[in-house]
């Protein structure tokens, strides 16, 4: 019981319990201490995994390279996001927030360390419960509906996980590591589907993603960066990686289905993101869209793509939490996360803007930032995969690939809109005198931005060598030596040369005039401000898309709404039979008795 693995879970748990009673400043201090203590322990695991922990005669906790990969980033991201939380949390919900935060960390640690199915289930469910806790902190009209929806989708998928693991345990026992279950019979196939449901609901894969944008809008912004953007991705993709790398023996057709779901996730979510008017919802849809790449990479079965998928997970965690936090900083100053109301904040908050710019360029997949590197690995892996397949499969895979590439372009487009609407454009008058975010906030986003750059430039030397490749090897993907043809240094050099050349041309031919806005002689008032939210309004009016968008707005594609409609329909039907008439009820009984008599012969 004194194993360091237990301590990694117990320390934040103890902090959470203590935080129930401490004053706020101490709560923060305890949380920092807890995370750092955990970080030190995890650092000690590097290269020297501690012994497994046995409980009730079975291995309960153990650490391999794949869990180490997740564990390390849970701590890194947990610390950075908490740096942001040190100042500026909503005072109304701060107390509960500071209990939930370490609790969530403890559950996440427990999830990735559990090698026994039941322990995994408990921690997985607990982390879903923590998510509900954060959702309940949300304010605004729709917050309670969002909390309900979030937990029905995420918490509801847990029972499927129970069933999936129970089915899988029939053929291989409860160990999650290296079970190698062939998808032969219906039981195993069903287990695979149920586990996939759980992983998709947690990570936000299509079609179980619909809680992510809502949660992002209504919950505290720090928790949006912490859970749907970071930890839930780490956990969901962790489960998917386990499934695809060792827990099941997955055939090509199944892999293709999952890859297709990934491609759909990319495209569906990014299309929705383009037309959002709410900054947080926009980021939420992108959080979904990025999962698509990870799913494609991890599910493809190609070693390079698998590593790319894992790497993309890390990158997404970095830039997506960066973007959420940067928007959070802006929102805390400007008092709104509505893109129609924001604008021109770059001048007031230059540091925040710079960090958000790095995040936006990274997520859009621009070299030399990290997002490009991982997408490149995924694309190259998928292309190589397609090369070795039968023509029909190859075409199928290529279609998915094209969807993903197209999604990447739309991501860029969408972030142009985001940057413009929040930071650029003309500043509304009420934002005069706005100050930069507190230092802890831009330090947090800055650290994330820095990591985005480092992971882009030194991908090979730092993240891939230390975390990603060992994790991929653990999952049985060893057969690669190079991460693709891409060399970030070369690209950076070319970029620098191009930039310098442009600068030279500008300086040599500089003849520019600066002027105020001219609007046909009108005084440039608020009504003439271009907010940027309508950049892509055209696509919502295009022929086939118009209907789709309209229906999506009416939630015609939301599994949650479809499910609740079906449930309530059935419920009403049944209620008709229960109108309170005694005769009918006695008839029920008669029916039952007769049935028994017939059965009894």
């Amino acid at each position: 019981m004194d194993s360091p693995l237990v301590l990694v879970i117990a320390a934040p748990l103890a902090v959470a319990l203590l935080n129930l009673f401490l004053p706020i400043a101490l709560r923060k201090a305890m949380t920092v201490i807890g995370i750092i203590l955990g970080g030190v322990l995890v650092r000690g695991f590097f290269g020297a995994p501690p012994p497994s922990v046995a409980l009730f005669g079975t291995t309960a906790l153990s650490l391999d390279d794949l869990s180490f990969f997740s564990l390390a980033f849970i701590h890194i991201i947990g610390l950075i996001i908490f740096l942001f939380c040190l100042k500026g949390l909503d005072p109304g919900t701060e107390r509960t927030f500071l209990v939930l935060y370490p609790l969530t960390l403890a559950c996440a640690n427990g999830t990735v360390l559990s090698s026994h199915g039941v322990g995994f289930l408990v921690f997985w469910g607990l982390s879903g419960l923590a998510l509900y806790g954060f959702a309940l902190l949300g304010q605004g009209e729709s917050a309670s509906a969002t909390a309900k929806k979030t937990f029905i989708l995420v918490g509801g998928s847990d029972v499927f996980l129970i069933m999936g693991l129970a089915l899988a345990a029939m053929s291989s026992g409860w160990s999650l590591f290296d079970a190698r279950i062939p998808l032969a019979g219906p039981a195993e196939a069903l287990a695979f589907v149920f586990l996939l449901i759980a992983a998709f609901a947690k990570a936000g894969g299509f079609p179980l993603h619909t809680w992510v944008p809502d949660f992002s809008r209504d919950a505290p912004v720090e928790s949006a960066a912490f859970l749907p953007a970071s930890l839930d991705k780490l956990l969901g993709i962790y489960l998917l990686a386990r499934m695809m790398g060792g827990y099941f023996e997955v055939g090509l057709f199944t892999r293709m289905i999952v890859v297709t779901l990934g491609a759909l996730t990319v495209i569906v979510a990014v299309m929705m993101a383009m037309v959002q008017h709410n900054g947080r919802r926009l980021l939420g849809y992108h959080a979904v869209s990025q999962v698509g790449y990870m799913i494609m990479g991890v599910a493809s079965g190609h070693a390079l793509a698998f590593a790319g998928g894992l790497f993309h997970l890390l990158n997404n965690v970095l830039y997506k939490s960066n973007l959420f936090l940067a928007l959070g900083s802006a929102e805390k100053r400007a008092g709104s996360h509505d893109l129609d109301e924001l604008g021109g904040l770059a001048k007031a908050m230059p540091a925040t803007f710079a960090m958000a710019l790095v995040g936006a360029l990274s997520i859009s997949g621009l070299p030399p930032f990290n997002g490009f590197f991982s997408k490149w690995m995924i694309y190259q892996g998928l292309l190589e995969q397609a090369g070795g397949l039968a023509p029909a499969y190859a075409v199928w895979l290529l279609v998915c690939l094209i969807m993903a590439v197209f999604g990447s372009a739309l991501t860029l487009a969408s972030f142009m809109k985001f940057l413009h609407a929040v930071f650029l454009g003309r500043r509304p008058e009420r934002f005069e005198g706005l100050r930069e975010a507190p230092a802890n906030q831009w330090l947090a986003t800055g650290l994330l931005a820095l990591l985005c750059v480092v992971f882009g430039l030194f991908a090979q030397a730092v993240p891939l060598r230390l975390f990603v490749f060992p994790a991929a090897r653990e999952a049985g993907f060893e057969a690669f030596t190079y991460p693709g043809f891409y060399r970030p240094n070369l690209i950076l050099t070319l970029f620098v040369i191009g930039f310098l050349a442009g600068l030279a041309v500008y300086l040599l031919t500089a003849k520019t005039r600066r002027d105020g806005a001219y609007i046909g002689g009108h005084v440039p008032s608020e009504a003439f401000r271009v907010t940027g939210t309508d950049f892509y309004k055209e696509i919502t009016e295009m022929r086939p898309l118009a209907t789709l968008y309209r229906q999506a707005e009416n939630k015609a594609f939301d599994v949650y709404d479809l499910g609740s409609k079906a449930t309530f329909g059935l419920s009403h039907l049944l209620q008709r039979a229960h109108a309170g008439q005694l005769q009918v009820y006695v008839l029920f009984i008669l029916f039952g008795v007769l049935l028994f008599m017939i059965l009894a012969g």
Partner: protein, 491 residues
């Protein structure tokens, strides 16, 4: 011998209460609290102290088959603990709530009769005594359902009375058939006697009992009385009815009869499975559409009983562990939910979820405990409901019944959805409630906090070391099947 005291204490209290308290309810409350507390201690001693034994108490000098006996084994003790615990919290919850209804000492008297009836059913070893105790409990329950004295409460009580008499007739016919075949009324001797009878006769007795006690259990399609009765009763009584009455009179007798007397015939296990599955799904579907919080809870009782029936039908040790464990857990969280509903009704004056709002600031104890109870019934870790559902689903998969496991999964998902609805509208809705019309007093709070703590504590029963001393002996008694009769006869 402690066994008879489980009936004597509550019955004596029931008759003493009208004597000691003429107008004021104070002495009645004290007396009933003292006697239920004594029952908790006694049953705790019986369960933990003498768990492995089967105690047989002869009411007269004669042995079976002539005399009448009381039998107390781990399973009965387990039920007694459950009944006493819930009764105690229910009484703690009651005083102010019942005062508000214009209550008098009769309430406590009836309450103790109800407890006496349930305890009697659980400890008796005689089929006809069981019938009598059952009728005693039902009569008390009928009066208590109508206790509020409003028209719809009388209507509910009337419906309940009709359904209860239907079930009583079915059971009585069943007893008559069994008696005519075996010339005996002791459960152990009937078990012996029926072994020599034709299978058709066993099927008929089983069918009649299945329908009769199925009505008491409120399994579909015998469920229709439950939503009216349980939602019209005062909240602490709803908690007793939903929490323990349907289990003591329904599930307990079904298990006792079909496992320990008939030896778990496969046909009836199949029926348990199907009834369970149907109850889970239809119950929860009916529940999710309700807006009256107590009706919603009542329909959930049907659904949760479905889980127990389903687990009973698996005929495996793990399945029975799930059934017994879920029975206890359901008693805890469903009673708590009814207390929450009672507290909300007291504070807001309504049972309609649509008229409620955000009370998490005004009623922290009620909303906190209600969240715990909702998460427990929905099967969210680390609360007790998660573990019993986990066991039931795993047991169903391992018993080769993945379809029934899937039913349990879907039921659990819908349960979660429906309790998040309760949370969203009833306690954490958008519109904050400005002002409360009634006060949630210390007694109510104590009862709720006690059960909320139990929601967490009973999770520990899943831990192997603890399970071996609590649930395992109970399951051992049940899985002995007809071997149990032998043990009773030898005593």
């Amino acid at each position: 011998m402690i066994t008879p005291y489980f009936v004597i204490i509550p019955l004596a209290a029931a008759f003493l209460i009208p004597l000691v308290s003429k107008r004021k309810t104070g002495p009645a409350v004290l007396l009933s609290l003292a006697s239920t507390f004594a029952l908790v201690v006694l049953s705790g001693y019986a369960f933990f102290g003498r768990s492995g034994e089967t105690l047989v108490y002869r009411m007269s000098g004669w042995k079976l088959p002539v005399g009448i006996n009381l039998v107390q084994d781990a399973f009965s003790s387990f039920m007694l603990v459950m009944v006493s615990l819930i009764a105690l919290t229910s009484l703690v919850f009651s005083p102010r709530y019942i005062d508000r209804l214009g209550g008098d000492a009769k309430y406590y008297s009836l309450f103790m009769v109800l407890v006496a009836g349930m305890n009697g059913v659980v400890v008796t070893g005689d089929l006809f005594n069981l019938f009598v105790f059952m009728e005693i409990a039902i009569l008390a329950a009928l009066a208590l359902v109508a206790y509020g004295g409003r028209a719809h409460e009388f209507e509910a009580a009337f419906k309940y009375a009709v359904m209860a008499s239907v079930s009583a007739s079915l059971i009585l016919i069943g007893i008559a058939v069994a008696y005519s075949a075996t010339s005996s009324l002791g459960l152990a001797t009937i078990s012996r006697g029926l072994e020599r009878q034709s299978p058709i006769l066993v099927l008929w007795v089983g069918g009649l009992f299945m329908a009769g006690f199925g009505l008491k259990t409120a399994a579909m399609p015998f469920h229709a009385w439950l939503p009216d009765a349980h939602s019209s009763a005062p909240a602490p009584i709803s908690a007793m009815l939903s929490g323990v009455l349907i289990k003591a009179l329904g599930v307990y007798v079904l298990i006792r009869f079909f496992y320990n007397v008939l030896g778990a015939p496969p046909l009836f296990l199949q029926i348990f499975l199907v009834l369970g599955a149907v109850s889970i799904i239809l119950g929860v579907l009916l529940a999710i559409g309700q807006w009256d919080i107590k009706r919603l809870l009542a329909y959930h009782s049907i659904s949760q009983i479905g889980y127990i029936l389903l687990a009973m039908g698996l005929d495996t040790t793990l399945g029975m562990i799930g059934a017994v464990y879920h029975m206890l857990n359901h008693a805890v969280f469903k009673s708590l939910l009814f207390y929450n509903a009672g507290a909300l009704e007291t504070a807001l004056g309504t049972r309609d979820l649509r008229e409620m709002g955000n009370v998490s600031k005004l009623l922290p104890v009620t909303s906190g405990t209600s969240l715990i109870a909702s998460l427990s019934i929905s099967g969210v870790p680390p609360f007790n409901g998660f573990f019993s559902k986990l066991v039931i689903i795993i047991a169903a998969v391992q018993a080769g019944q993945p379809l029934f496991a899937f039913v349990a999964v879907v039921g659990s998902l819908l349960t979660l959805a429906s309790f998040l609805k309760v949370q969203k509208f009833g306690l954490r809705g958008g519109r904050p409630v400005e002002r409360l019309i009634g006060e949630v007093d210390g007694g109510m709070k104590t009862a709720m906090i006690l059960l909320a703590a139990l929601c967490l504590v009973t999770s520990l029963l899943i831990v192997p070391g603890i399970r071996e001393t609590t649930i395992d002996p109970v399951v051992k008694v049940i899985m002995e099947k007809t071997g149990h009769a032998q043990i009773v006869l030898e005593k």
